[in-house]
Amino acid sequence: MFRSQSTLISRREPAQVMRLSRLGSLHQCRLSFMRILTRRMAREGWNFSRPVFDVDDQGVGHAVYTAQGPDRVYSLVAFAHDLPDEMRSDRVIAEAWDATFTLFDGVPDAADIDRLSQNVPLQEAGRVSECELSLSRANRSVRLWAHVVDALAKGQQPDAEQIAQVGYLMRTTAVYGSGKFGAADREKIAHRPEMQAPFQAEMLSVYLTRVFVRDLVQHMARAKGGDDAVDLDPSIARRLGIGNSTGLGMAPFIINHPVLFNNWIMAREEAIARVRSIATASPSEVAEFLSLLRRSEKSVARWRTSHEIQIEKVAALRSDIEKLNAFILESGLCGDHPWDKLSNWAEANLSEEGQEFVASLMLEPYGDQVDDLARDMSDANKDAFCIDGSMTIRQVSTLVENCFGWALSLDWSARENCARGWYVSEEKLEPRLGERFDEPIADYEQPLAPARDAAATHAALAGWDADLPIAEFLLHYPEHRHTIRRAQLSAAAPYAEIRDNTISASVLPIDMLRAKLSFFGATHFDPRSDRWVRICMYSGAPYPEELATENADLWIYPEVQS
C-alpha cells in the first residue's frame, strides 16, 4: 500500500497530471530509476571488475563485467560484432547489431558463456534462461564512433563539439527484461532489496554497457594506432552516456501496466506535495536548489533536437528558465511555503515543460523527505487484477466517470476521434500505430484506447439496474471486462489512466514514450518522428572506479564553473 504523509498541500489532481501533453513534458527527478541505482551502489560500496575482455583487433569478441553488491553479484556479458554498415538499424525489425548483451545473475562460467554466445547475438531469435535478467543490444553512433577511434589512434582527444552533438558512442535499441525470450521473471528478483525498485536490472545492465563501450572504443583505438594511441580523457568519457532509441513498443507498456504506472506518478506527485508543504526553506536548501538550477541550465543548453515540436518545447523551457531566474531574484525563495509559491507561480507563468522542470528540480534539496518513496514504485499487489463482482453497477459507473468523464460525451464515431489504431505486426511482432480508415487494421486492434472503451462500457451500463452487482452485467457482456477491471483498479490507483484520447488523429505517441523514459532518468529527448525518440542515459555519471557517495546522485546535472 502506498504510504502517504499528512501534507498541508495535497497531490495534484489526476485530471491535471495525466494529460498527454504534460506526461510528454516530464523530467527526471530524485526518484528516477538510474539515480536510485547509482545512489544504492555507492552507499553500499559495490565492487566492480572486468574478469574477461577477449576482443580482437577487428572488434569481435566478448567481455564480462561484474558488479558485486552486499549479497549478490551480477555480470554483464557483452558480445562485440563486426556489423556491416548497411545492416545497422535501430528498428525492432533489425536482425544484427554492433554489440549484444545479457545481464547474468551471478558470475557465468565457460559453459554459460558458450551457451550465451549462441543465443545473445541472435536477440529475439535466440533463447536465454532463468539465469539471465535482461537481453539487450546496441548500435554504434556512426558519426561519433569513427571520429573517436581515429582521434585516439592518432594520439589526440576527440573534438568536444562532436561529442556534444551526439552525446554517446553507442545507443541501445532494446533492453528486454522480466521473462522475455526465456529470461528470469521479475518474481525471481522482486524481493531483493537492490532490485525492488522498478527496472533496476535493466538500469544496471545499461550502466555496465557504458563501461564496456568506453573500453571497446579505447581497445579499437589501440588496435588502430598502436603505440601512438592514447586513452580517452576521463572527463570526456564522463560526458558520454549511452544513447537509446525507443520506439512505439514502450507506449503500450504504460497503458498495459496501469497500477505500476500509477505508482510511479503517485510517488513523484507525493514527493512534490511534501516539498510544497514545507513551511520554510533553509539557506542551504535554497543554495542547493540554485546551484542545481545553474547546472540544469547547462544541461538544457546542451539539448539538441531536430524535431519541430521539441525544438519549440526546448525554446519555451529556455525562456521559462529566464523567467524563473527573474522570479527567484524577486522572491528569494524566502517566506512562508516558498516551494508552494514557486509551484503556483510556475503553473500560472510557465509552459508545461517548464512547470515539470521546476517540479522535479525543487525535490532535489529534500532527499531525506522524498527518497523513501522509491520503495512504493513497484507493483507488488497481483490481486488487484481480480474483479470484485459484488460491486454495484452504480459504483462501477462512478469509477468510470471519475477517470473518463471527459470522454463520455465525445463522438467516438467521428473520424478525428478514432483515426488511429494500435496493432502488432506479424513482422517480428513490432507494435505499430495505423490509420483506421486507410488500413485494414481494425480486426487486429490492441486494447490501447481505454477512454473509448470506457465510454462504450458506460453507455452499456446505463440500461441496467444500478443496484445490481456488476457480475450480472459481466456474465452477459464479456467484451466490457477489461474496462471494468481498469475502472476497479483506478479506485486505488488514481493516476492509472491517461486522461486523453490515445487513438485520436492528433495523438503523439512520443508523449507516452517520454513519460516512461523520464522515470528511467533519461535526458535530452530527441524525437525522430511522432513515434520514436532518442535519449541519453548516464551522461555525466561516474564510472565504476569513480563511483562514490559524493558523485552517485547529482551526476545528472553537468558541472559548472563556480
Binding site: 522475455k180 526465456g182 487494421i441 459481466l474 456474465l475 466490457h480 471486462r481
Partner: protein, 212 residues
C-alpha cells in the same frame, strides 16, 4: 522447452484473444494458465486443448446462463474460462451454498479461478469431479491421492472449505510440449496484422534515418 511464466501468460492471453474471446477474458486465461504452470500443472496443454475445442463456437453458448441453480450453458458444455471468471465474480455466493456445474470441458482450467475465489473469500475452496478432489487456499493447491487429470468433460461441484493437503513445490518455469506451444502460437498469430510495406515505413515512424 523451458519458458518463463511471463511468456506463458503472454502467449495464453494472445492465443485466447486470437481464438475469439474478449480482451478481458483473454487476460483471465493468461493469469489462469500462468497459475496452473506455477503449481506444476501443464497449463499450456489444457489451454491449447480448450481453444481447440471451442474454436468456431459461439462463446455465449459456452457461458453459464445464470448464477442461480445448477450452472449450465446453452450448448450443454461450459467453457472453464467463461465459467471460471463468472465463479470468481460471484465468489460470495459460495458462502451460502455450493455451486454445481453440469458439464465443464477441460475442467483443470477451472482450478485457477477456484484459487482466485479462495483469495477473495480468505478461505479454502474445494473442487470435485469424478476421479478428482482438489483444495486450494489461493496460493497453493492439493489434489487427492490417485486423482486423474485426464477428464476432458465432467460435471463438478465447488464449495467453500476443505483441508489443504500435500501441495506441489511452486514452479518458476514451465516446460510445455512443443506441439501445445505451437498450437497456442498459431492462435496468437491471429492477433497479428500482416506486414505491408506501408505499415513497415509508417506504422512505427521509420521514415527518418536511424543509422547515423
Amino acid at each position: 522447452m523451458s519458458v518463463s511464466l511471463n511468456e506463458v501468460e503472454a502467449i495464453a492471453k494472445k492465443a485466447t484473444r486470437g481464438a475469439g474471446y474478449s480482451w478481458g477474458m483473454a487476460e483471465e486465461a493468461g493469469r489462469a494458465t500462468r497459475w496452473l504452470c506455477a503449481q506444476g500443472f501443464d497449463g499450456c496443454a489444457s489451454l491449447a486443448a480448450l481453444l481447440g475445442r471451442t474454436e468456431g463456437a459461439e462463446l455465449a453458448n459456452l457461458t453459464p446462463r445464470a448464477f442461480t441453480g445448477e450452472w449450465d450453458a446453452p450448448s450443454g458444455a461450459l467453457c472453464p474460462i467463461l465459467a471460471g471468471a463468472a465463479l470468481s465474480d460471484c465468489a460470495a455466493r459460495l458462502k451460502q451454498a455450493e455451486i454445481q456445474m453440469v458439464t465443464v470441458v477441460e475442467p483443470i482450467m477451472i482450478l485457477p479461478f477456484a484459487a482466485t475465489t479462495a483469495r477473495q473469500l480468505g478461505t479454502t475452496i474445494n473442487v470435485e469431479w469424478p476421479g478428482l478432489s482438489a483444495t486450494t487456499n489461493g496460493a497453493e493447491i492439493s489434489v487427492s491421492d490417485g486423482a486423474s487429470m485426464a477428464a476432458t468433460k465432467v460435471g463438478l461441484k465447488i464449495r467453500e472449505g476443505g483441508a489443504l493437503g500435500r501441495t506441489a513445490p511452486r514452479q518458476t518455469r514451465a516446460a510445455p510440449q512443443a506441439a501445445d506451444w505451437d498450437r497456442l502460437q498459431l492462435f496468437a498469430s491471429r492477433t497479428h496484422a500482416p506486414a505491408t510495406e506501408e505499415s513497415r515505413i509508417l506504422g512505427a515512424g521509420g521514415d527518418v534515418s536511424d543509422n547515423d
